[in-house]
Symmetry: C2
Subunit: 148 residues, 2 copies
């Protein structure tokens, strides 16, 4: 009980909150790295089972099976890649819910094989799962100006 | 101490969580109603002081002063209106952080006075403030197909 009491006190210290925000930002970076290494499978890994995607120009996509169906042809595009960089995060008091935001770069090739680059930004909403891991419950992006 | 214990138990009951999610959805509806009634001032009212907007096609806008600067000319457009309808929400265990999502309709007039309607969807991230009110910490929208 004494150990439990100490754990609760630590969890509400400002330093601990900053650590938790850093942990969420690391999850965002790990998500991106998984996509770099594994493409579609890396993308799917980081979504909660009932996670939602809000793709620009399309309707809401709910659940891993529907996200796979949506993203498989996109990841199969010639020279397709998506990379992003988190700029910040905010989390709930108990560090069980939060969001990250940042900028993204999507590259692919047009029908003539010419490289196409699109710049965007994103908001990703995360929920800590029963096993303590962060997973994406909502992911939305839109267009942004090219970086200066 | 016994009362505190009971309060903690109640806070984790599924029924209470559903009530809290309904309260967040109501905040989303109140936000829209404020914009119907008060335009720009209604928009600003619901943002946290350091809230962020992620407008489609533009950079990230941080804080109420910058949001006012961004949105004032938009709300001043001829026949401009923005309406939205929440479709769902999810919240943290302690009901201090959450998000809503839904569809939006933006109307305005082009330079010849002809009505223009744009359909979109949104993700809004909310954080409960020290006074117990929900305020927007992040708001992003993108385009969506017209409703069927």
């Amino acid at each position: 009980m004494r150990l439990l009491g100490i754990a609760v006190v630590l969890a509400v210290l400002p330093g601990a909150a900053a650590d938790q925000r850093q942990a969420l930002l690391q999850a965002d970076r790990d998500f991106c790295q998984a996509v770099v290494e594994k493409g579609l499978e890396g993308w799917l890994f980081w979504f909660a089972e009932d996670g939602k995607m809000f793709p620009d120009g399309a309707g809401i996509v709910t659940g891993k099976a529907a996200i796979r169906e949506r993203m498989a042809p996109i990841f199969a595009r010639p020279e397709y890649s998506i990379r992003w960089k988190a700029l910040g995060a905010d989390i709930s008091g108990a560090s069980d819910f939060g969001y990250t935001y940042g900028t993204s770069v999507i590259k692919s090739a047009d029908k003539d094989g010419k490289p196409v680059t699109r710049y965007g930004k994103y908001v990703t909403v995360w929920k800590k799962q029963a096993d303590g891991t962060w997973r994406v419950v909502a992911d939305m992006g839109n267009t942004a100006p090219p970086p200066k």
